[in-house]
Subunit: 136 residues, 2 copies
Amino acid sequence: MAKYSDQLDAMFTALADPTRRTVVTRLGRGPASVGELAQPLSISLPSFMKHVRTLEACGLIRTRKTGRVRTCVLNQDRLGLLDGWLEEQRRIWEAGTDRLEQFVTGGQQPVEDTTDTDGAVDPTGSTRITDTEEES
Amino acid sequence: MAKYSDQLDAMFTALADPTRRTVVTRLGRGPASVGELAQPLSISLPSFMKHVRTLEACGLIRTRKTGRVRTCVLNQDRLGLLDGWLEEQRRIWEAGTDRLEQFVTGGQQPVEDTTDTDGAVDPTGSTRITDTEEES
DNA sequence: GTAATACTTAGCTTTATGGCTAAGTATTCG
DNA sequence: CGAATACTTAGCCATAAAGCTAAGTATTAC
């Protein structure tokens, strides 16, 4: 079972390259062969194939070889992994916003980690970031 | 003006690392100092600082130094860049599904490339991807 | 004023990426 | 059958990424 975190690694890494995003976008319009995909991209076929395999490895596309042609198809569902992560983040920081509101209206420390980190508290004595000066 | 595509590069690259995603998630709960963020991550401070800079460079976090402490804050809005890209993709492949339906019901080529160089279209801008589709 | 704290800067190492050429292999065309 | 087509495999290179130690530099604590 590939860990969730590893899947995100692979997904984000795959999408971090403009060539690969181009492929994803193009495949959004429908299936295409490796050659068709590579043709407009001034890149050698071997180099392009690496991108194809990267996209396939993270599950974003699926490919199938028929005769001498390999056809690529977008696996739209896979983008749900990103939606999920974004959703998760929003859920977390919305909870944080609630705490902040509670703080503003009620008067508690708005944050100060659950889980990790430790109890080291803001040395300025107030939980603010908007304070004094700047750096070099 | 940093190109939209470059911003996506930086954003996806930043999120491709589990350490950095951990930081984003942690900052979703509220601001924290560099030291607080690094402490639970068995990594040297200099190494950790690189991650902080990477996150800052892509706009996902903002930092401010007060005294000897650098505090980091999540810039939630920046995740909208990802939402935007995902939205764009969906729009494209939903149009593709329409064409496919047209194909199934009507009888045309369901696809056939529209030489694009990336989803290198600023979704906030005006340049649409158009997608002229079908000819012949 | 001396120490401890919280980063910073420098410089180095290892591994991963992205791209290329040359040389196959399997199919399909004439 | 022989040639053209559509990838594949096998190296090889240059650059970027991620981590480390050692040695600063401000700040704050004592």
